[in-house]
Symmetry: C2
Subunit: 158 residues, 2 copies
DNA sequence: AGCACGTGATTGCGTACGCAACGATCATCG
DNA sequence: CGATGATCGTTGCGTACGCAATCACGTGCT
């Protein structure tokens, strides 16, 4: 392995701008998730993870998704989603349905109560995302972020 | 701009650009943490959370920090850091030291083994951050991200 | 000095998560 | 067809984390 062939620091440390961009991502993520979760919990007794499932189902056709796809959508492992779905089902917010064209699979479906809860929590959540995040960014920064994610994700998500 | 000139939806839903910026943050964070953790674990048997503690101590004067400050630095609750420090101490990577000017507090200090492990893992980690993240961003995007974090954090972090 | 109050670190407890293993079901190919 | 390998959802198990309570200690006020 070629040692530092560049006039970089001996250990290729990050410069100030790189550090700010990288650590900022971690801090902003942590702050956002913490704030949004606390607000949802306070207003509706609904953890952010629960909300994200309801939200995903609400955007899906017929308010239902395969467990597999749902897990990927909410950034959880399949086992993690199984347990999360158990809790949501116990709370009456979703129900499971067998999949007709693939007997292995099952759907998670929004119940009426799930729809109602989602409709209420949605306001709180969107307002929080605006107030904590979008509010502080201009059109240009928004576009810049989207572009950055699009460049980073294909390489990182693999 | 290219955004829909439509007035806000009745529920103030996010437009495409806002959605991309916000959800991208979640996805990129998840992908980065997962990738960096897996690489560190594979190369050095060191979880990312452990590394972040060693890294923070390595950057601190005398390789030591108050538990309180360290917790904030690595984005953990105080109890979470207590347990994490327990594991690192068991592994011989850090040690605790009493604080002379405040008998309540204690320091976490890098041991020699901790220094060595940090020196090795640092290469893997920095290389990962570059390859998965910084590599894909230009000077302008880097600056844009830093600026965005600076605007978001003061409002969101509290 | 003495007492109330705030802060640093730890601990008990409950919860959420990932990995690996499993059974059930598809899909492919001889 | 029947065997082999992949995929879907679930479960056992271990681990990591946060909250609240606790103890030890500092800080400020009278």
């Amino acid at each position: 392995m070629a040692t530092t062939a560049k006039p970089l620091l001996p250990d290729a440390g990050l410069d100030t701008g790189e550090l700010a961009a990288w650590r900022g991502l971690l801090r902003v993520h942590a702050a956002m998730v913490h704030a949004l979760d606390a607000e949802l919990e306070a207003a509706h007794g609904l953890p952010l993870s629960h909300y994200e499932v309801l939200m995903s189902l609400g955007e899906a056709p017929d308010g239902r998704m395969r467990m597999c796809d749902l897990a990927e959508r909410v950034l959880l492992s399949r086992s993690g989603l199984t347990r999360l779905a158990d809790r949501l089902e116990r709370d009456g917010l979703i129900c499971r349905a067998r999949c007709s064209d693939d007997a292995r699979g099952s759907f998670a479906c929004l119940t009426d109560a799930g729809h109602d809860t989602l409709a209420q929590a949605r306001q709180t959540h969107l307002e929080g995302v605006r107030r904590h995040f979008l509010e502080h960014l201009g059109q240009q920064e928004l576009a810049c972020l989207s572009a950055a994610w699009e460049r980073v994700l294909p390489g990182a998500a693999r």
